[in-house]
């Protein structure tokens, strides 16, 4: 505890870097995943290709992506961009199959009814199909956010900042308090964002509430 009180500025600084590095990929990943999910839901072949690709990308260990990234995009090994892109890839690999499933699952009657009401294809996608897939989308986003928050710490191994720095430094100094602080902050952050996303999902898709409570009861 003394260690924490003596190092608040460093902790806050690492915390801020950590959050930025974890959350930017979620936002970029979401923006990329929606059109890709739409493509996958629309064409059978695209679906097969994209989902196979997603499985393979998700299999690649994060430390591997971090190390390979400079060779692929010509960045420096210490560039935080490597981490952001690596985590974005994971987010996309996680979200695209989920969005594709959710869009395919929109009942034909619903799309037919929307078309009959005069929705143009684009309007129908944003006004009907996408909102209906919000529960799946938030579920995917929650997994992506929690794992990103935890994965950013790996960046410390290749010299990218964040709370992982407290772990490597604590390890070198055999400082239990420092390592525990980093772990606790990361778990708490993960829980906060998980809960926030869950609440947002509930607020955006109120019709799903009854079903979820019904399912767990």
């Amino acid at each position: 505890v003394t260690w924490v009180s003596q190092n608040i500025p460093q902790i806050l600084n690492d915390l801020w870097i950590h959050l930025v590095l974890a959350l930017i990929p979620v936002v970029i990943g979401l923006v990329i995943s929606i059109p890709l999910g739409w493509v996958a839901a629309r064409w059978r072949i695209a679906r097969g290709v994209l989902i196979a690709l997603a499985v393979i990308l998700y299999t690649i260990p994060s430390i591997v992506l971090l190390v390979v990234m400079p060779a692929l995009i010509g960045t420096q090994i210490l560039d935080p961009l490597n981490l952001v892109i690596a985590l974005t890839i994971y987010t996309v690999a996680l979200l695209v199959p989920a969005i594709a499933d959710a869009l395919t699952a929109v009942p034909t009657q619903v799309t037919a009814a929307a078309t009959a009401l005069g929705y143009k294809p684009a309007g129908r996608f944003f006004g009907v199909d996408l909102p209906l897939s919000i529960p799946v989308l938030t579920a995917g986003l929650r997994v992506a956010t929690v794992s990103n928050i935890s994965l950013v710490s790996v960046g410390a191994l290749v010299g990218i900042g964040g709370l992982g720095d407290l772990m490597t430094e604590g390890f070198q100094r055999y400082n239990t308090a420092e390592v525990v602080t980093a772990i606790v902050i990361i778990v708490v952050l993960a829980l906060i964002f998980d809960t926030a996303l869950w609440l947002t999902g509930r607020a955006l898709a109120p019709w799903n509430r009854a079903r979820i409570t019904g399912a767990t009861a």
Binding site: V55, I56, Y58, T59, I60, P61, S62, I63, V64, V67, V68, P70, A71, I77, A98, D101, A102, T104, A105, P107, L132, S133, P135, V136, A139, G140, R142, V143, V146, S147, I149, S150, L151, S153, V154, A156, L157, V158, L163, G164, M167, T168, F171, Y174, N175, T176, V179, V180, I183, I186, V187, A190, L191, D194, W198, N208, R211, I212, A215, T216
Partner: protein
């Protein structure tokens, strides 16, 4: 070209006594750590998940625990165990990896058993099966595809993470990444990355083959048909349930 040179250099494959372990030794360490961790994780998580799924009590706790464990940063756990156990080497690697293996196994086993059709469970009781028999003979086999999915996720995540064992001096294929990083030998890091990714993909392929044999053949066409019929309307629910595997409160 340089990466090919690395792989064709006999020192990198056979090692250099006292300076660099052989590739086979590191590969073996990597596989050994991963398999043992997932096996112990399965021994802990599958019975608990199965029992909770069977009794129907504590589902919320499973979701919460699985989610909280998922948020734990591996690097932090590993360094913490090194300090707590006061030992460099393989010993602290196992608890860190076991904790990583538990959430997908626990959540998927629970979801698999809890989602078995209640009519099937009642029918098994109706023909005189005891609770033990219902769980072991009916629910677990039916849940096998999901349990296997959990096993695959656990194994892949553990293989990916085992690389950080090298950070605390416990070897594994991650050795090349950290050894290369310390002397800015980019080729060596890349070689390590390629080896780990290849191992992960080979294991993914093997698991897909093994799954065909483990999952009861009677389930295959039936689940496929049922999936088409059932997932359509409540897709949001099933997809969320499997994907977050208990992340749903």
């Amino acid at each position: 070209v340089s990466i090919i040179d690395w792989f064709t250099n006999p020192i990198n494959i056979n090692g250099n006594p006292g300076l660099q372990p052989s590739l086979w030794e590191l590969l073996w360490q990597h596989v050994w750590y991963s398999l043992v961790a997932v096996a112990i994780g399965a021994v802990i998580a599958v019975p608990i998940g199965a029992w909770i799924g069977h009794s129907g009590k504590g589902g919320l706790a499973v979701a919460g625990i699985a989610n909280a464990l998922r948020g734990l940063p591996e690097l932090g756990l590993l360094t913490l165990f090194v300090i707590l156990l006061n030992s460099i080497g393989a010993l602290p690697v196992f608890p860190a990896l076991i904790i990583l293996a538990i959430p997908p196994l626990l959540a998927n086993t629970y979801a698999g058993v809890a989602n078995v059709d209640k009519a099937v469970v009642d029918a098994s009781r109706g023909v005189g099966m005891r609770e033990r028999g219902v769980l072991l003979g009916v629910e677990l086999p039916i849940a096998m595809p999901l349990i296997f999915g959990g096993l695959r996720t656990a194994l892949l995540q553990v293989i990916a993470t085992t690389a950080i064992a090298a950070y605390v001096g416990a070897g594994s294929l991650g050795y090349y990444i950290f050894s290369g990083l310390s002397v800015r030998n980019y080729t060596e890091m890349l070689a390590g990355a390629i080896l780990i990714a290849a191992l992960a993909l080979i294991v993914l392929g093997l698991m897909t083959v093994v799954q065909r044999f483990v999952v009861s053949p009677g389930l295959r066409p039936a689940t496929r048909r049922r999936r088409v019929a059932l997932t359509r309307p409540p897709a949001a629910n099933t997809a969320a349930g499997v994907e977050t595997a208990g992340g749903n409160p």
